[in-house]
């Protein structure tokens, strides 16, 4: 499948070459399947049986470089259709590369090893890229126009699955890190009620990030990415359904297990009510109605809010100030 696109643009290069009429002889560019031009098999440098010494094959005179014959408006994609090493006689540019001789200039391109060593992008000129992309466009699809913002994407497609591919040169194309899959989902996008979401958080533990409200499940125990993906989805399914269940032992949930601080039935409530009752002293008797009446008072409610805020959010300037104001009001200071 991959070779098709490659052949497509290589063939593209050749088609354009033939379209121009080929001002230069095609036999200059030799491929492995071409028949050998030189049919003199016997004269390859071995001496004749009778002759003395070394009879070297007479060398062809070196012709002028191809760059002399290149027209200015030629099709460069035909000269360099694929990634090839640098050929000084095929590149009509006055390039110089290397460390300059003392008092001189960097060496020229003829016989320059530095230019040959570095990977060149002569086959990827903007014209070539445009041609390649034109051939590749039919295989692409458009992004749906309705999903233009991240918010709409999150709303319709809340589950994000991360996978990584690695490309590098080496004895093997495989990379074991490519099997790792991260599954990220926002807690608010799942259909959970209050008890279920709290239980889900307890089940998930430190895979939950409070700031972004995202649960991240990392699956890397299976050897293939598809398997890890399926396992992560299975884990999510199990978590979801288990969190909706209410077990018998959940009724034994103690104050220490609570996720948030609640003021009702807490030592703080008892203390403030005791203090207020003692302040009232004389007239009214002890009783539940007195306590309830005290609870209904506005200052007590404010005190309750400030204490809850302190416990849940931690200490900060504003929360301490709020607590101070509430205490002053409640105790009539």
């Amino acid at each position: 499948m991959a070779s098709h696109t490659r052949k497509a643009f290589l063939c593209l290069g050749r088609i354009n070459a033939s379209g121009l009429g080929l001002q230069r002889p095609a036999s200059r560019v030799s491929y492995a399947t071409d028949k050998p031009i030189n049919s003199s098999a016997g004269n390859k440098g071995f001496p004749d049986r009778g002759g003395r010494g070394f009879v070297r094959r007479p060398r062809r005179p070196v012709g002028e470089p191809r760059t002399e014959k290149m027209p200015v408006d030629q099709d460069w994609t035909a000269v360099y259709p694929a990634a090839t090493p640098f050929r000084p006689n095929s590149v009509p540019l006055p390039l110089r590369m290397g460390y300059p001789v003392k008092g001189g200039v960097p060496p020229e391109k003829k016989g320059n090893l530095e230019l040959m060593k570095i990977p060149n992008f002569l086959h990827l000129t903007p014209a070539a890229i445009k041609k390649h992309c034109e051939a590749l466009k039919p295989f692409c699809t458009e992004w749906p126009s309705a999903l233009d913002t991240d918010a709409t994407c999150d709303e319709h497609f809340p589950i994000k699955v991360d996978g990584t591919d690695y490309v590098s040169a080496g004895p093997s194309v495989r990379n074991p890190s490519a099997r790792v899959v991260h599954l990220k989902v926002k807690l608010s996008s799942l259909n959970l009620d209050d008890h279920a979401s709290k239980k889900m958080l307890k089940l998930v533990g430190n895979r939950y990030c409070k700031d972004t409200d995202i649960i991240t499940i990392k699956a890397d125990s299976c050897p293939l990415r598809q398997q890890n993906h399926d396992y992560a989805m299975y884990l999510l399914t199990v978590l979801y359904h288990e969190s909706w269940k209410t077990e018998a032992w959940e009724a034994e949930k103690a104050v220490a297990d609570m996720e948030e601080y609640s003021w009702e039935d807490s030592p703080s409530q008892r203390n403030i009510l005791d203090a207020l009752v003692r302040m009232k002293a004389a007239g009214e008797g002890e009783g539940e109605e007195v306590r309830e009446q005290l609870l209904g008072r506005r200052e007590v409610q404010e005190y309750k809010d400030s204490v809850t805020r302190l416990k849940n959010e931690g200490e900060s300037e504003s929360s301490m100030l709020q607590y101070k104001e509430a205490v002053k009001k409640v105790l009539n200071l």
Binding site: F121, A135, E142, P144, D165
Partner: protein
């Protein structure tokens, strides 16, 4: 939930392909945000293609077909290419190539940035035997380039990544991180239990 349309087309004329067939894009349901645009079609490259590189008669006789199936296309919210190499100018040229290719294929480029280079240094003894006071130091420099693309479909991502990876220069490595978006599967939409507050049998 609208069902995906069943489309099947065969294109046998390659010149039509090169002419730029723009109607291969998805027949998306309108811009209504309530519907999920689900009838995105995927075009698969043909497996049986007999175009050979070395033959002189290239195009005219071999048909090439683009098949369109009703399988839903994957949607990638973000595709991040991290390229690593020893030579910064090679990465510069490669970035130019990758960004230009993305522009030609109408892929939105989020950001292109360069991570600071890593220097791997170590000190070795200069001589084979003794002479501990004479050392030689080597270092390996790894330069990075990160190209982030957003909002790509699975087909486009496949095409683009393959093109860009085939033209990866020597001595350069790449890591591609793809973030695919998926809908909540049907079995997670509703809890499967009946309204039992306490479920002893299933807690075994």
């Amino acid at each position: 939930m609208a069902a995906p349309m069943a489309l099947r087309r065969q294109l046998f004329d390659l010149t039509r392909i090169l002419g730029g067939i723009s109607h291969l894009g998805p027949r998306a349901v309108g811009a209504c945000s309530g519907h999920r645009p689900c009838n995105i079609i995927r075009s698969r490259l043909p497996l049986a293609s007999s175009t050979s590189f070395h033959t002189t008669t290239v195009f005219s006789s071999t048909p090439s077909s683009i098949t369109v199936t009703e399988e839903a296309d994957t949607l990638f919210q973000k595709v991040s290419l991290l390229v690593k190499g020893h030579d910064r100018s090679v990465l510069d040229s490669y970035e130019l190539f990758a960004t230009m290719a993305a522009k030609e294929l109408n892929i939105t480029i989020n950001e292109v940035h360069e991570h600071p280079k890593d220097m791997d240094r170590f000190t070795l003894l200069k001589s084979v035997h003794i002479f501990k006071n004479h050392r030689v130091q080597y270092e390996m420099r790894t330069h990075y380039r990160c190209i982030e693309l957003s909002h790509i479909t699975g087909c486009t991502a496949q095409v683009y990544l393959e093109y860009v990876q085939r033209n990866l220069p020597e001595g350069v490595a790449m890591a591609v991180t793809k973030t695919a978006m998926e809908k909540v599967p049907d079995h997670i939409l509703e809890p499967m239990w009946e309204d039992h507050p306490i479920d002893d049998k299933l807690s075994q």
